[in-house]
């Protein structure tokens, strides 16, 4: 009996990501969820600009490549073109979602747009070669913060889930990671909920996945997973930052 194999919604091609990059794990989780919910035929994914720009080749559902940061606006158009049928997700990195596309992110959340966002936070710009991201940690050395991120000079990293949780709009915000087997299982649960919410018409659901960039962090893949526990999670604590339906249920008890 097969207990583990490539999900059907994931294309049978080699991913272009660097060795040990956790993008591949998250792609697979999204595809597993699409399979389990049986929604591949009605799902339309939006790829960002950044390392995952070619995600449009990796999923077997219909895919759209968006301009840098604009995926939530494109997703809004796709969702509203056929709200009853279309299941729409965006897959975005930290530069895409939290820097150049922050306005699109915040307003899609404020409108409680009925879409699912998978947000990969690895605290760096990968595709362009390791520049400082809106989520780079204080002191983090990158190509454009060669002496370490100086918060007096360029400010503090943005905690997206916490910030969006101040809005009335969004339905569901959770931060997860994928640096060990248990964490991957939790991440999948969150991603599944974020898609199920859309199917149930509940609205804007964003899962932030604290991820690695071994190449631009300058670490082995193994060390990068450890660095998540040591450095990333203290600044980006895991957890559910908003779950409106659950809160409502709790209140009515």
């Amino acid at each position: 009996m097969v207990v583990f194999e490539k999900p059907k919604a994931l294309a049978d091609v080699q991913l272009h990501y660097c060795p040990g990059c956790t993008h591949g794990i998250v792609h697979r989780l999204v595809a597993e969820v699409i399979d389990e919910l049986g929604i591949e035929g009605r799902t339309i994914g939006i790829a960002p600009v950044g390392c995952s720009v070619m995600a449009y080749n990796y999923f077997n559902c219909d895919m759209i490549e968006a301009a840098h940061g604009r995926a939530p606006a494109v997703a809004t158009g796709v969702k509203r073109s056929d709200p009853e049928n279309n299941i729409v997700f965006t897959y975005q990195g930290d530069g895409d979602l939290a820097s150049i596309g922050m306005a699109e992110t915040v307003h899609a959340a404020a409108r409680n747009e009925n879409i699912t966002i998978i947000f990969i936070n690895n605290a760096i710009y990968g595709m362009t070669g390791g520049q400082m991201a809106p989520t780079s940690l204080p002191g983090q050395v990158t190509q454009t913060s060669p002496y370490g991120r100086d918060t007096d000079h360029c400010g503090f990293p943005i905690r997206v889930c916490e910030m969006l949780s101040t809005l009335e709009g969004p339905e569901y915000l959770e931060r997860v990671t994928v640096n060990n087997v248990k964490a991957v299982k939790n991440a999948k649960k969150a991603i599944k909920k974020a898609f199920q919410n859309q199917l149930d018409g509940k609205g804007f659901s964003l899962v932030e996945v604290v991820s690695t960039c071994p190449t631009n962090w300058g670490m082995t893949p193994k060390k990068a997973l450890e660095w998540i526990d040591e450095k990333m999670l203290p600044y980006y604590p895991l957890g559910v930052y908003k779950d409106r339906s659950a809160a409502k249920e709790e209140a009515s008890k």
Binding site: C61, M63, A73, A75, K79, R80, S81, I87
Partner: protein, 354 residues
């Protein structure tokens, strides 16, 4: 023939778009095109359509990109500074070969400029909207009736050629009221097998995309696109000629400038000056043929524009420098008066710049 109704230019665009089957509108407030959005906000919810006020022009054009990807008719409208912001999205629409209708009700610039009518986005619309090799089809209405007609036509052209069509209007066209007939026969929808509507597990996945990292492939896409553009240049040029049969002087203008010019031409004719008008309706593709013909018989071409001289460059190219081409213009939100144009005609009649 249906009865005529009195409408503002901006409202005529909105109603014509709905008649043409557009059920999705995204925009951001900016003067002087606000009536388009206001009309859509009122009407769309009542006919099962979508009006959404976006957080920015950038978001609006990307919502357009999203709907267009699914194969449905979609539009946005704005005015000059807002169109600059939409430039990025327009380039992506071009790169992904997506159809859309875009309205620019121009105002004076550059920068924040003013809110009075202008034609200073001619270059932007016809040549340099954003990065990369591409064109939009650009239509220039000169009456409220044409605002409506060209909207319907614009959707058809966009679908036919998988590209953005822009209605390049101005503040006057948007704000003035005229009687309009909205009696259209709407063509059946174009098949869009490329659209991302969900595979229904019946076909391979569709990808809407403008990324192409292999230069040989990207070059090929560009050449293919320009083959299509060539076909459009050959078949879709539109223009109006007015009293050109015996003209010795040719005035050329589009939009509101053409209406002013017609008044001046009528007056000049009364004074015995043989003058006519070429009014391009498609600014891209630019209708070169009537200019080429005029260059063989007139002694001067006067380009009347609400800018510092933009269309005049295309006029010079189209007349192949065989006759002098002079500029009669106002800018920054000012409109040339019929008297100003008449003076230019008289000067040309007396020997002009030769």
């Amino acid at each position: 023939m249906s009865d005529k109704v009195l409408m503002k230019g901006n409202e005529a665009i909105a109603e014509a778009a709905i008649i043409a089957g557009c059920r999705h509108y995204f925009g951001y407030p900016i003067t002087p095109q606000t009536e388009v959005a206001a009309y859509m906000a009122k009407k769309m919810p009542k006919i099962g359509g979508t009006f959404l006020q976006a957080e920015s022009e950038i978001a609006a054009i990307n919502m357009v990109y999203g709907v267009s990807s699914t194969g449905k008719r979609v539009m946005t409208s704005s005015s000059s500074p807002g169109i600059s912001l939409k430039g990025e999205g327009i380039s992506y629409l071009a790169g992904a070969d997506l159809p859309a209708l875009l309205i620019n009700v121009q105002r004076g610039g550059p920068g924040l400029g003013g809110i009075q009518p202008s034609q200073s986005d001619y270059f932007q619309a016809t040549k340099g909207t954003a990065h990369g090799d591409f064109h939009m089809i650009v239509l220039a209405p000169c009456s409220v009736q044409e605002m409506a007609d060209l909207t319907v036509k614009g959707f058809d052209l966009a679908d036919k050629y998988r590209m953005t069509t822009m209605i390049l209007a101005d503040g006057t066209m948007g704000q003035m009221m005229e009687p309009v007939s909205l009696d259209y026969e709407i063509a059946p929808p174009v098949e869009k097998p490329w659209a991302t509507t969900g595979t229904k597990m019946e076909r391979k996945h569709n990808i809407v995309n403008s990324l192409s990292l292999v230069p040989e492939e990207l070059e090929k896409l560009n050449f293919e696109r320009y083959e299509r553009y060539k076909k459009i240049e050959e078949t879709e040029c539109m223009y109006e000629e007015y009293m050109m049969e015996d003209a010795e002087i040719c005035v050329t203008a589009f939009g509101i400038a053409a209406r002013v010019s017609k008044n001046a031409i009528n007056e000049a004719r009364k004074q015995g000056i043989k003058v006519g008008l070429i009014r391009p309706i498609t600014l891209w593709p630019f209708p070169k043929a009537p200019y080429k013909a005029a260059a063989e018989k007139v002694k001067e071409v006067i380009s009347v524009e609400l800018n510092m001289g933009q269309m005049i460059e295309d006029v010079k190219l189209a007349t192949e420098c065989k006759v002098p081409v002079t500029l009669c213009n106002r800018a920054g939100g000012m409109i040339p008066s019929p008297e100003q144009v008449l003076e230019a005609i008289k000067k040309a009649a007396k020997g002009g710049t030769k």
